[in-house]
């Protein structure tokens, strides 16, 4: 199954205010694209539409060439889509790092020992094995982002949707997150208003401005 996202003529409004109109975008297998735009331009809503969290007002979303007619249709591809929210503290569902990273696998019915081993491996790969036993809410912002990434990557998703992945991180933490993301070979849509960071990650950059999406490089 070749991985691709096709967005066709998608529009979305909030409280009768049009956020974006008639947007079309195609993301090919392992392609990394970035979307920049000012606050309130609808970047996060656009990602949520692709993740199947909200329904567009108009237009169609295709995942792996299959049309998503309703939010229920996304269920089939849930583990193929990794979504990193802007505030990662909302993403966590368990008290400790290892338990949270294991969660998606356990929820899929994978046995505890196997899930534990896989979680340890991914923590090791991302260089945060030492945080394994720590309480998630006691971690720094940068550490929380990497833990959230680990919990997404453990299910080996084919698409990554990252909403402001370096938001509120210091330079060192940002560099670490960028390095990790650069080493991931997956289809990726990164949303940010941080152009310098985006340029080092995604070769294709779009701007969401005045309700339309335009390629800017």
């Amino acid at each position: 199954m070749s991985c691709s996202i096709n967005i066709k003529n998608v529009s979305y409004d909030v409280n009768d205010k049009k956020l974006f109109h008639n947007i079309t975008l195609n993301v090919a297998h392992e392609e990394k694209i970035a979307i920049v735009g000012s606050n309130g331009s609808g970047k996060s809503s656009f990602l949520k539409i692709i993740a199947g969290l909200i329904k567009p007002k108009e237009g169609d979303v295709f995942l792996f060439h299959e049309k998503m007619n309703s939010l229920k249709d996304f269920k089939k591809y849930r583990s193929d889509i990794g979504y990193l929210p802007q505030d990662v503290s909302d993403h966590f569902l368990c008290p400790t790092v290892i338990e949270d990273v294991m969660f998606n696998l356990r929820a899929k019915g994978i046995k505890k020992d196997e899930a534990y081993e896989k979680a340890c491996n991914i923590l090791d790969e991302l260089g945060i094995k030492h945080l394994e036993e720590r309480n998630i809410y006691g971690l720094s912002g940068g550490e929380q982002k990497i833990v959230a990434l680990a919990s997404i990557l453990i299910t080996k998703p084919k698409i990554l949707l990252l909403d402001e992945p370096t938001n509120a991180l210091d330079e060192e933490a940002e560099k670490k997150v960028v390095d990790i993301l650069n080493n991931i070979k997956k289809s990726m849509i990164i949303v940010s208003h941080h152009k310098s960071f985006i340029q080092s990650l995604a070769p294709t950059i779009y701007s969401l401005k005045e309700r339309t999406l335009d390629r800017i490089n």
Partner: protein, 215 residues
Amino acid sequence: MIQLSSTTAFLSAIFYSIFISFSTIELLYTLPLVYVIFCEYKNLLQIFKRLLLLNVFIIMIFIVLLLQSSLEEALNIYIRTNMIILFNLAIFFKSSGYDIVRALNDLRFPKRVVSSVYFTLKMIQVLSDELKNIRMTLKLRGFKANSSFFTYETYGNLFGHIFVKSIKKAQVLEESFTLRGFHGRIYLINRIKLSYYDLILVFLICMLYVQRFVI
């Protein structure tokens, strides 16, 4: 550092509190209390500070009881309440609320109960952090509470803000449930590791029950 397991702490707190609630005080009953205080001897000052703060309310109950019944009964209830609170303060002093979740999980409580308690605690933490931020903002912006209309209006706005925030947080949490395949349970790693300290506490509490009901 002496660390009691969360399951032992949870069960001990329940059984000791019940025992003290329905007993007339004897010196022997202070043994588990002395023991947990010993386990937390490094934080004694902070524990007693918290107890002192709570005593503001306990003293009110004491006064009401004193007026309604005898000094003996008022004193008995005053001491028992303090013993229960001190025991719980000492035993849960180092605990994050999540230890209770872990204890419920270890004790094989229904999965939905465990996850409900966990998400309730998570929400309490989020909202208390929010309240702390708001208090700091008020301080930084030079707000001084007094009995003016402005103060009440400000407090009204803040409670409204927290209310809206909690609804938004709940919506985002629901999104996380959808994205991460949550279906009613969280998965915790079972970590019951009983140490000698746990066994001593269990023994002391069992001893109280045996002394009361068997001997």
